[in-house]
Symmetry: C2
Subunit: 330 residues, 2 copies
């Protein structure tokens, strides 16, 4: 492997000068600069990023711990995060983690002394939080948050759950079910609480069988749907804890020859990009702002890294209903 020493020798200068040519060319005379550049080109030299990271203690790398891409929410956020980070000169190490394999993911992230960590998949009560804090690595969570989290970006999850229920109620539904994810996740927890509050405020009956909080796998959602529709009095509407769940539900419904929304109304939360596709037209609750959570989070993280500011970043975006075609008057 050709190093800056080789370049120096080839150009008849010192390694220091080679380094200067690349990092502070204003301090080197034109002829010297040209000589070195020629040598760099001749030898096909590429500086070694690891050596630089080692000496500068700066990696220009960010670790992204995202949820899986089969959830369209993470498609949108991952895309936004990687694009913005690259634009700002950072490389992004991506990992798609499920909640179990979290520890490994953190380990590899930390070993490489990334400049910052941006993550979604943290539990309300996650020991990882302390580790990251102790490591003194800037980090921010998006979508989810930790119980004593300082830096996070989220939507108003409680209100989102509330609005979802309210929307169904306003459409004349009374038999409204909830299908959400595990409550150890802040997002699902708050959305669920919002849903409950609306049902209470509007004095609607909510039988226990109408409430399903399970893991977010396709299989679990399929089972949930079956369970609901086989009840003696099946619901006429389902509020899903996330668009990804809503899309699963719709898929299952169609497979089982139900028509959405004629047979059953379904609303999601997140307003993922694909929900507005003509073939899907998912009614959902999402951020009022155009910018997705991933973008907001990475912007703040890079701000934290570069300006070392330690003021708390706590962004909660307002939400509204996007009324499309998967819900209708009952």
């Amino acid at each position: 492997m050709v190093s800056s020493k080789d370049v120096a020798k080839h150009a008849g200068v010192s390694q220091t000068t080679v380094s200067r040519v690349l990092n502070s060319p204003e301090f080197v005379k034109k002829p010297t600069f040209d000589k070195v550049m020629k040598a760099i080109h001749d030898l096909n030299y590429v500086p070694n990023g690891h050596a630089r990271s080692l000496v500068q203690n700066k990696t220009s790398t960010i670790a992204l711990l995202s949820g899986p891409l089969h959830n369209p929410f993470f498609v949108d956020t991952t895309s936004a995060i990687v694009h913005y980070a690259n634009e700002m000169g950072y490389r992004v190490n991506v990992q798609f983690v499920n909640d179990e394999k979290l520890n490994e993911a953190y380990a590899t992230a930390i070993e490489h002394k990334v400049d910052g960590v941006i993550l979604s998949c943290i539990l309300l009560d996650d020991p990882i939080f302390e580790k990251l804090t102790r490591m003194d690595i800037p980090f921010i969570t998006y979508n989810r948050k930790h119980k004593n989290n300082e830096h996070f970006v989220e939507i108003d999850n409680f209100k989102a759950g509330y609005l979802a229920a309210q929307h169904m109620i306003e459409q004349g539904h009374t038999a409204i079910a909830w299908v959400g994810g595990t409550l150890t996740v802040s997002t699902f927890n708050n959305r669920y609480l919002g849903f409950l509050q609306a049902m209470k405020d509007y004095k609607l009956c909510l039988p226990e069988q109408y409430i399903i909080n399970t893991d977010a796998s396709k299989q679990a959602i399929t089972d949930a749907f079956h369970k609901l529709m086989k009840l003696e009095h099946p619901p006429t509407a389902i509020c899903a804890g996330a668009d990804s769940l809503a899309l699963f539900l719709i898929d299952v419904a169609i497979q089982e020859n139900y028509t959405v929304p004629q047979d059953i109304s379904i609303i999601g939360i997140d307003n993922v990009d694909i929900s507005s596709h003509g073939s899907i037209q998912l009614t959902t609750v999402g951020s009022i702002s155009e910018q997705n959570l991933g973008y907001l989070a990475i912007r703040e993280l890079i701000e934290m890294i570069e300006n070392k500011k330690n003021s708390c970043i706590q962004i909660t975006e307002s939400v509204k209903v996007f009324h499309r075609s998967t819900t209708r008057k009952n």
Copy 2:
């Protein structure tokens, strides 16, 4: 930052022993091992990956240069690639590149001495190819390939184009249009050639206005659709060069109050995961095998990295039609 020297001092051993505890514990006595582990834990030590990379000339990192995630094909492949790589102990540096900003992307990838590069976005006649070869970094392309490419994984694009046209013809269509991407991309080029061949074999008339090869942006596809449907004799069927294009077309069609497939049949190529969703049910041509191209590519790349084998990897997967609900008898 706490280093292995600090650990060594704290444990009363040499730095070498600390290194051994972590990398070849079988050569260190139990009591010493315990002492060191305690020190590691006490000091909250995490080894520095960059220093290790520097001395070992091995990074356990792979650069992924993918197309954008709004194309669902890249959602599937990115997911598969990152998952498999992580499982095999590699970190993945992801960049979503458009064809213009390719050079920057390569530069940052190469600077960090990644163990390998996996890329989709290469043009048939791309100077990058030579650079990578000269750098002696193992690399493989998926989906697309370079004109003198050695390692690649693709589907049988020519046949895919052929089958798409054939499917429409068998459904009784005669006015069949083509909407594909730029022909400097191997994938689109071969699919287009296959389409042409089928039209020729079946002796179908193909007016020039029925052929649109443009960039793959939503706007361009919208324009293409308008152009086609405003013709005096609009087509009754469109073969799209990729599922992403087909999905754009369907979205536009629905917005413009066309019904798919009643008003117009549309077929894609790739069989992306989302195409089988109940709300979409896109008829498409895709690989016979279950495994997506990203998975095949990363598997081969890691094989190349670890076994230094230099036999050419040239995988072309057979394809078939997945007949769903966006095409029908004319």
